[in-house]
Amino acid sequence: MSAHVRSLTLKQRFSEKKCKIATSAELDGSTISRFSLQLFSFLSVSLKVKVSLLVLLHPPLLILKKQPMANEKTGPPNFPGRPAASPFAAAPPTMTPFLSAGPVVGSEASGYGASSPARFNGPSISSPPPSYVPYDVGSYQRFPTPAIPPSQPIPPSRGPPPSQPGLSPSIFPAGQQILAPSPPVSFRPQPQIPSVPMGPPPQNVPLTPSRGNVPHSSLESLFPASRPTLQPSLHGYPNVQANPTSQVPSAQSPFFAQPGGYVPPPPVAAPIGLNPREQMQHFSAVPPVGPVQGLVEEFQSLSVGSVPGAIEPGFDSKALPRPLDGDIEPKSFVEMYPLNCHPRYLRLTTSGMPNSQSLFSRWHLPLGAVVHPLAEAPDGEEVPVVNFGPMGIIRCRRCRTYVNPYVTFSDGGKKWRCNICALLNDVPGEYFAHLDANGRRTDLDQRPELSRGSVELVAPTEYMVRPPMPPLYFFLIDVSVSSVRSGMLEVVAKTIKCCLDELPGFPRTQIGFLTYDSTIHFYNMKSSLMQPQMMVVSDLEDIFVPLPDDLLVNLSESRNVVDAFLDSLPSMFQDNVNMESAFGPALKAAFMVMNQLGGKLLIFQSTLPSLGIGRLRLRGDDHRVYGTDKENALRIAEDPFYKQMAADLTKYQIGVNIYAFSDKYTDLASLGTLAKYTGGQVYYYPCFQSTIHGDRLRYELARDLTRETAWEAVLRIRCGKGVRFTNYHGHFMLRSTDLLALPAVDCDKAFAAQLSLEETLLTTQIVYFQVALLYTSSSGERRIRVHTAAAPVVSDLGEMYRRADTGAIVSLLTRLGIERTLTHKLEDARHMVQLRIVKALREYRNLHAVQHRVGGRMIYPESLKFLPLYGLALWKSTPLRGGHADAQLDERCAAGFTMMTLPVSGLLKFLYPSLIRIDEYLEKGSTKVDDFKNSSKVLPLSTESLDPGGLYIYDDGFRFIIWFGRMLPSAISFNLFGVELSGFPDLSKVILCERDNEMSRKVMGILKRLRESNPSFYQVPQVVRQAEQSRERMLLVEDQSGGSSGYVDWILQIHRQVQQSA
């Protein structure tokens, strides 16, 4: 390997060097190496002798970094750009509201924070002002918040003003208490009042004209009009439990006896935790009269009480929150910042950035973002393409930020201020436009890059280090006996043949094949040949490529040869009895063939690599290793060859996708490493049988080949001063501290990143994020996809919790957990997840325990109500669950690799699959699938949901499990399968296919419908009969099974831990 690399031609070295330069084009501006300075000061003190030596060795360290610009042109690649302005004209009409909202200007932008609704995901989000929320009590309780200034007037006739927490218990019922005795306890001086009345934000968040002068002194507490006169118990007195959730009287609620005469308390101002700035922000979110209304914060609670019929105290399992609607994107955030990119591209774990280190350290959940740069957009919402033409892409001189809706123009339009680093840049002459009276550019509606959070820029030649590569697919296929027997070879050959017409990038697409068993077979596909020529290399020690060209050919030129090859491939090896697999040497050979261009390498492997370099051994079935310190070694690559190979593949822009088929151990931990560092994906088909899994392989391979792919890509996330992305999680290779190298990336890959604060105190009001993906499209155009988002900086922990996004948090926690399993025991990984949830809830409890008598109730923010359940689901997910016996090692690794790349919604579905009952629909007369959609409802994943007389579909996004109740009328199963199920020996062999009857057609219709909602994978229906499979129990996340707790126990467990040191 290394010998080969060393013998690279000069040309390659040249391009390699260039590669580095291109990389730095993406880089940020000049930073002095802090570390070098440190090192130097250290050295200069203690090692004066050596300093001169150092300098000799390494002059660049002394030089301030000067960022090379990406202006190394590489000759040929002058590709015809798109017609310059065409995309603008096509700008969808949806832009107009944004435009009317006015340009968002740096200094003004802070005002956007003002429009923050108080909470996320609330069931009543669309309902008017938050202060009325208590009316529409859902299945939970709401409580006053600490973040509310004492001075806030209270909605008319809802209750008396709040009293200080210390007092209220003693004077209960404190209805008569007047406000006067409760002066602000800690009225923090307001550091920055956004005094600039900003341009009107989006239509859906009406700005109040008066918000600039909302009173925020304590005087306003004398607001007479809103003085309530009567007040039920305050501060979370237990009587508020008279609401639907907790039918059970809580043990700690002495006052509960007072029957429902009380309504849940209105939002009351809590005396401490006041933050005037926030207050300001809230004001604008609500009609002018009710400054109070915006100040509502409510948490939810669960009472520990004795469940009727149960002896031990517990939670009422019906009252526990369940994410039956699947993933919910945080809407309020989008509404607040309409110029942000859609949350499908970028989701922050909390959209309130902590303003200080101390606040950050109290946020125990991961702080970061989940980025899905190429997410598929529904029709009509495609990312607009912008071509700047000869003037080049407008970027900040210093931090290289791309021009975006949040930049501000000044000086009559001659200058623009970067929203990320605040540098004033010149506007190029061609880009100049006059400003109107509001400081907005007059051509705003012509410029998607100034009005949309997501744009795609056409990159000129400066962004190329070589001519854009053609789409290249190289297939590395195991043809040993097991591949042939399982039918894999045939399915693969046929599928590839079917997809040839749809491969992206016609007519530039290149293709090549290589097969191997104990020898390596190359195929000459030269277009002048009639039949492909096969060349066999059996020397595995010193791999060479027998033919320098013609192993990779242009598909459109050699189409006939490729067709002939794919037709004959299955028959060529049908009598092969070779059981060996020279995977490592074959991989090296493929690398040698591909490294001129890069591309996508698809590996089809059905046995354990057994010959040559990179051979692996059976190591998965040793159960004694589990529970010891060596356990994690099973889950990482055994042979350093794989890591080294992965690094080299990325370097030459080769992305690897692994398709593994074995019924025995194949060491996916090692094989998957190749995909992990090259931005690839692992597809695992345990016990592949073409009759059962053929459809799945066909679909997923076809999708892999035909989905839009971004080639030779790099991804960088820039963010404003004071914060920095430090850790990245997903499938990629880091090429510098913050540059993700992605040889091939597509719409099914998401990445996660964690933020850290660089400064102890953030002075800005808003932090901006910009995701930039520079890639070559299949059509051979260099493009940059830019997503920009803004998030307000908050100074209050409660606000962070309110703005939390469970989906993103779970996504990051999952990735952290899986990464933990690579270095620690499974148990440690699970505990890490649990601990973080517990810490977060404990902090939240501490936040509220002061003002409210939370007593024995478990409290949690509305935004995180599903977090414990997802934590439990993660605990029970394949990569983290149990020990040796609970999942095959390969299965674990495959699931781990998959979950590391899943976007948020896919992951949530995988963690908490949907369970739908279908027998009622089947027996009804209606034939329309729409009816099914309306009538079906998603059930909680517990045994109670399963009726022995029912038929259910369990859909986790990767498979369908058709669950047959024991008492299900046999007519149904007969209709579906044509046989009696009870007499069927092995249900895993049952194939569900369309039969000639109404019911079967209906079921297939449902499955089709469900598949359409998740096009990334193909879900194979799997039949399970009640209580016949031991693993059935593992499917039900909320149930207790084999050592792991059920939902109620889990909540109790978390609750106890939260209380322990609360």
Partner: protein, 137 residues
């Protein structure tokens, strides 16, 4: 007493050599962090000097042992054990794929080594001067 001085002199140069190797590795890491070189080059450069570093350190320990400087040898032992352990576990080379995640750890490890070596260097100089003076008397 020429032998003693010679042995101190020799160990002094070995230590200088070790310090250089460690500093070189640290610089590669610093360069990587601030993006002067790519991870491939950085890992290659660091890995090329790790083995020499281990050997030099082994020779140094051996030198202390055979010249009868027991205390210095004992002080060397932790470092030696650490190196041997890393070598046995095949963790001594820098992993190019994980280099950024391990950056802080790698740096810390080398800074500790550097500090250790600097103390050693002072001790050696002290012993060197001491034995020269003793020789004079």
């Amino acid at each position: 007493m020429d032998g003693v001085i010679l042995s101190w002199l020799l160990s002094f140069f070995l230590e200088i050599g070790l310090v250089c190797l460690i500093v070189y590795q640290l610089m590669c890491l610093a360069d990587l962090e601030f993006d002067y070189i790519n991870p491939y080059d950085s890992a290659r450069r660091i890995n090329s000097v790790i083995f020499p570093e281990f050997v030099t350190q082994g020779v140094l320990s051996f030198l202390f042992l055979v010249t009868g400087h027991w205390i210095m040898f004992l002080l060397c032992v932790p470092y030696l054990c650490y190196n041997v352990r890393m070598y046995m576990h095949r963790q001594y080379l820098v992993d190019v794929t994980e280099i950024f995640n391990m950056l802080n750890w790698e740096k810390k490890q080398r800074l500790v080594k550097l500090a250790y070596l600097v103390i050693f260097l002072f001790l050696t100089i002290f012993w060197l001067i001491y034995s020269v003076l003793e020789d004079d008397e």
